[in-house]
Amino acid sequence: MRYVEPHAHMVSRTTDDYRAMALSGCAAVCEPAFWAGFDRCSADGFRDYFRQLTETEPARAARFGLPHFAWLCLNPKESEDLGLAEDVLALIPEFLSRPNVLGIGEIGLNKNSRNELRVLERHVQIAVERDRLILVHTPHLEDKLKGTRLILDVLRAHGVKPGRALVDHVEEHTVRLVLDAGHWGGITLYPESKATPARAIDMVERYAAERLWLNSACDWGHSEPLAVPRAALEMRRRGHSAAAVDALVYGNPVRFLSQVPGFRVAEGADLAP
């Protein structure tokens, strides 16, 4: 089996996790910028984080033959402070040209506040001006439906080409909204919140499977770095063909991410299966 992990916060994971992913058939890993579990004091903290995402993690992944890619932004959980947000937004352009950077992400909303929305719009502007891909985080739990609607309005208002934005962490009540708007949707496999493998595969069976991807979104919290290959196994157990599984966990992410000229998979992965 081969797969792409399109959403993993590897700065929070061990080297053993990289090895386990490589052993499980991972062909590339993509890391969106996110919240560290605490609010950073200044833009300098983000400069160091962006260096970690564009220098340190690619080197760690390369030891296992894994290409590593990153998305850059100020995450919505730290977007209430508009002064800090402007300082971080000013940093982003200098890092955007680094070879492993895919685009702007994971931007989005957390508590659907006015300031979060303003910072989201600023990020979308940067992406549109530079014609970069966008990865959007949708809020948690009771805030997800409202936040998804607000996010889709922003993407539409700024003229984002639907096929250039992936809206992540969709569930049964948001997946149609995202796909009907023409965007890609990401299904996150978490032990408690978001989706289980069984629910994820239900959504794949019911909706536009060609514009969905699965991810583990593994980070410092309750999460599972091998969630994607585990869901792939579940899909096989349910009776789906090897080709259908490959299209979902490898073909789809490669198709979306190949819009970035520098995206590539591990040597030989494109020859399988």
């Binding site: 959980k77 977007s79 209430e80 957390n110 508590k111 659907n112 506040s113 006015r114 300031n115 979060e116 929305l117 809020p139 948690h140 739990l141 009771e142 805030d143 997800k144 439906l145 409202k146 609607r149 607000l150 569930e171 049964e172 009540h173 069984a198 629910r199 595969i201 239900d202 069976e205 157990r237 349910r238 009776g239 789906h240």
Partner: protein, 95 residues
């Protein structure tokens, strides 16, 4: 002649795969409700929302997962004046 359904559309195959897991979850939920019965104090919005979802679970209509998630969601449309806390509780407190 219609073709037989794919394995994931056959009830027996789905039961073979998922019945034991669903059985365990139903029992866990039942035991949780029993545990709440034995405890004291008021129920907050999370437990009220959970109990309301049980009715949707048993109404025999389609799209239960979507409808339950919607029942737990914030139905308002205006952005919040400020973020307040970073967390979410799992159910909209205003329901």
């Amino acid at each position: 002649m219609s073709r037989p359904p794919e394995p994931w559309r056959r009830r027996e195959a789905l039961a073979d795969l998922y019945y034991m897991d669903a059985r365990a979850r139903v029992l866990d939920l039942a035991a949780f409700l029993d545990r709440l019965d034995r405890a004291e104090g008021a129920e907050d919005h999370r437990l009220r929302s959970l109990r309301a979802a049980l009715a949707l679970l048993a109404d025999g209509k389609e799209d239960r997962a979507r409808r339950i998630l919607e029942s737990w969601s914030d139905p308002t449309t205006d952005p919040a004046p400020a973020a307040g806390s970073k967390g979410a509780t799992g159910a909209w407190p205003g329901a």
